[in-house]
Symmetry: C2
DNA sequence: TTGTATTTCATAACGCCGTTATGAACGCCG
DNA sequence: CGGCGTTCATAACGGCGTTATGAAATACAA
């Protein structure tokens, strides 16, 4: 797993091959099969790792008196994680990325529960009267999809010239807060407030490698 | 190109191989090389095709007295195109998708100019006093990234249960209009108004296959 | 400790992929 | 007619995921 993670981070998805990993580990290709059940099993494990890292960032977002600022910080943490581990993020959501294989529908489900933290924060925003929308899950999905799209296009180098990623991101952040119901003035204040707290998240350190699928909380 | 497009649409990215296409065409693998310069050239052509289809939808969005409704319709057209050609959309933005190859940075640039129509519409929204934000390109990028993210996760089957794609999409649409500056009431009216016009777009028909990169308007 | 059962992995092969070299067939034009 | 450039069929190379096979190594029971 360590070797695979290093190869992915250093040389991109193309270097993630069973043969290459085995060679790098000084073993034979079979090791990948006995330990991970083939290439798809290894990638599955890497996806778990990716979500574990994201959750590690999310876990460091502390609740404050301003839930909207907390929410904006979740957005910053999400983008920070993706930009820090771009290839891993591509594997998590790239889908058809690696050699014509794809994750199980079940695998995709696991990762989505990472959103639960964000849903709870959305609920606090609603309870505080800051968000007009009543459904915290819907709000979380709006934020998630929007920021995921920005990050995807940013990592793929698609953003057009005068609109660099940080600029669109900041605009999107306040736009989203206003869009889901907050007023412009408080929203911008909260977004500004969240900016300083990003550095507090720092690097959560390499989490213990996920040995299995992340635990799924009962709905 | 027709065979490649059919294979991609019917059997997904995994079926897009030079050998398979050649066999389907009753020729040898070499034909792919003499005509497209290898697999990457063929995929490049398919990306052009994908953007051509998107532009065909965009071209059918007519200006009305309500520029915000026009803008919402652009969003609907974008999602409609992606949902109609899911695999093609994945190739356009999947990046590392097919067999460890990737598009040139230049290729990515071409497609981005498809946004220019949306930018002009954003400018009309701003001129009409409906959007607070002053930069039409920034607005276009916010809408693009947000809807792209939604569509990506929708096609990847990532959206969580009670939040089906249409629901998140509708919420996102009004949320975005409000977020970039419109007031809630007019925004919802415009979004509602755009809903009926989506059916007018229908299917623009298969555009003439793009033979080269799409024309890039001078900035 | 010994014998057995289970896991782990090295070797080799199969079929697939993109790509390339080679040479034959073909159309074009002087 | 004869040379020429394009087009493509054939065959090969290296790399990929995967599988079968068998040999070590390990775990475990007696």
């Amino acid at each position: 797993m360590d070797i695979a993670a290093r190869l992915l981070a250093d040389e991109g998805p193309a270097a993630l091959s069973a043969r290459r990993i085995a060679a790098e580990a000084g073993t034979s290709t079979m090791a990948v099969y006995t330990n991970f059940g083939g290439m798809s099993g290894l990638v599955r494990q890497m996806v778990y790792e990716g979500f574990a890292r994201l959750e590690a960032y999310f876990a460091r977002v502390e609740q404050t008196a301003d839930p909207v600022a907390d929410m904006a910080l979740f957005g910053r943490a999400y983008r920070h994680n993706a930009v820090t581990n771009p290839h891993l993020y591509a594997v998590m959501f790239g889908g058809a990325s690696l050699g014509g294989f794809s994750l199980t529908a079940e695998d995709r489900q696991y990762g989505r529960f990472t959103l639960s933290t964000v849903v709870q924060c959305a609920a606090r925003c609603i309870a505080a009267g800051r968000f007009r929308t009543g459904d915290p899950e819907l709000v979380a999905h709006q934020l998630w999809t929007a920021i995921h799209g920005l990050v995807t296009l940013e990592l793929g180098d698609y953003l057009i010239e005068p609109c660099d990623a940080p600029r669109v991101f900041e605009a999107q952040l306040t736009g989203l807060m206003v869009g889901v119901g907050d007023l412009l003035e408080p929203a911008t204040r909260s977004v500004r407030a969240s900016e300083a707290r990003l550095s507090d998240l720092a690097d959560p350190g390499d989490p213990a490698h996920a040995v299995g699928p992340p635990a799924v909380p009962e709905s």
